[in-house]
C-alpha cells in the first residue's frame, strides 16, 4: 500500500488515540522508522492532538501545584522509609546475618589484639634480655678490672726495670 493511503487510512488516528491493537502499534512503529513522510505526519498529528487538548484546557484552581508537590514529597518520604526497612532483606544471607549480629561503630582504638601464644614468646624474650644484660654488665666489670690489673702490672714492671 502506498504510504499516502496508509496515512489516510486512519491508522495514525487510532494510534494517537491509544486504541490501536498491538499489531497496529507495531505497524506504526515500523512505518515511522522506514518512512520519513509517515513519521512527519504522525508527529504533526501528535502535536495537533496536544493543541486540541490545549483548546479544551481548564486552568486548575490556585494551590493545586502545592498540593501535588506535597503529595509527591510525601510519596518520596514514604519510599525512603520503605527502602530503609527493606534494605536488609535485599542482601545475601551471609551479609544479612552479619548485619543482624553486629552493630557497626566507627571508633579509633589505641590497643591491638594479639594471639595468646605470643605471651610465652614475650616472656622468653624478656628473660633472655635480662640474662644478656646481666652478662654484659658482668663482662664489662671483669674487663675493667682486668685492665686495671694490667695497668698496675705494667707500672710494677717499669719500676722493676728501673
Amino acid at each position: 500500500m502506498e504510504i499516502k493511503s496508509i496515512i489516510e487510512s486512519g491508522l495514525m488516528e487510532t494510534y494517537v488515540m491509544g486504541i490501536a491493537t498491538e499489531e497496529e502499534v507495531q505497524q506504526v512503529l515500523l512505518l515511522k522508522k522506514e518512512y520519513p513522510e509517515f513519521k512527519d505526519a504522525l508527529a504533526s498529528l501528535e502535536l495537533d492532538m496536544e493543541v486540541l487538548a490545549q483548546g479544551m484546557a481548564i486552568a486548575p484552581p490556585p494551590g493545586t501545584l502545592e498540593k501535588v508537590e506535597t503529595e509527591i514529597h510525601e510519596i518520596q518520604r514514604r519510599n525512603q522509609v520503605v527502602q530503609k526497612v527493606a534494605r536488609p532483606n535485599t542482601k545475601p544471607d551471609g551479609e544479612d546475618s552479619k548485619e543482624e549480629k553486629y552493630i557497626e561503630v566507627e571508633a579509633e582504638s589505641n590497643q591491638m589484639r594479639v594471639n595468646k601464644a605470643w605471651k610465652w614468646i614475650f616472656i622468653a624474650v624478656f628473660i633472655l634480655g635480662k640474662i644478656f644484660l646481666a652478662s654484659a654488665i658482668y663482662f664489662y666489670l671483669e674487663n675493667r678490672q682486668a685492665r686495671e690489673e694490667i695497668k698496675e702490672l705494667k707500672i710494677e714492671l717499669k719500676q722493676k726495670i728501673k
Binding site: 486512519g10 494517537v16 501528535e46 495537533d48 487538548a53 479544551m56 493545586t64 501545584l65 501535588v68
Partner: protein
C-alpha cells in the same frame, strides 16, 4: 495501555513545576470531559499528576509524546470510575467549540474513544456499523478539528 514515560528525571521540584505548567490545565480539561464534575476533576487531577510524576521514572520508554502518555494514563486511571456510568454518553458540556464542529455520530465516536478509550470493534458492535466506517468517522472528526485550527 502503553507505559507512561517522560524524558525528565523523577520528582525534582523544578521538573514538577515545569510539567504542571505545561500539562495541568490540559489534563484538568480532559478529566472534566470524563468525570463531568469540576470538584471531582480537581481531586483526580492531583492524584493523577502525583502518581504519574512519581511513576514515570520507573517505567520503560515508549514512542508516544508526553501528552498522549499522560492522557492515556489518566484515561486508564479513570476507567474504573467511569466504567459504570458511561454508555456512549453525549459529549462533554464544556467542550468549548472543538466538539461542536462534529455531527452527532462523530461526536459520539470521538468522545467514546478520546475520553473513554473505547475500541473500534466495541463501537462498531454498539453502534451497529462496520469497523471501517467507525475508523473513518473518527479520522474525519479529528481532521475537522485540526482544520478548524488551521492545520
Amino acid at each position: 495501555m502503553p507505559k507512561a514515560v517522560l524524558n525528565i528525571p523523577p520528582a525534582e521540584p523544578k521538573d514538577i513545576r515545569w510539567f504542571y505548567d505545561k500539562y495541568a490545565a490540559m489534563l484538568l480539561g480532559y478529566i472534566n470531559g470524563i468525570v463531568q464534575d469540576h470538584r471531582k476533576s480537581e481531586d483526580h487531577l492531583i492524584s493523577i499528576l502525583t502518581s504519574f510524576t512519581a511513576e514515570f521514572g520507573m517505567q520503560e520508554r515508549s514512542q508516544l509524546s508526553i501528552w498522549l502518555e499522560l492522557r492515556q494514563y489518566a484515561q486508564s486511571r479513570l476507567a474504573l470510575i467511569t466504567q459504570e456510568s458511561h454508555s456512549l454518553s453525549p459529549a462533554p458540556v464544556n467542550s468549548n467549540g472543538n466538539l461542536d464542529l462534529l455531527d452527532d455520530l462523530q461526536k459520539q465516536i470521538f468522545c467514546a474513544v478520546y475520553y473513554h478509550g473505547k475500541s473500534i470493534s466495541h463501537l462498531a458492535t454498539t453502534l451497529g456499523s462496520e469497523e471501517d466506517e467507525i475508523r473513518n468517522q473518527l479520522k474525519l472528526s479529528i481532521d475537522k478539528m485540526r482544520r478548524s485550527r488551521g492545520n
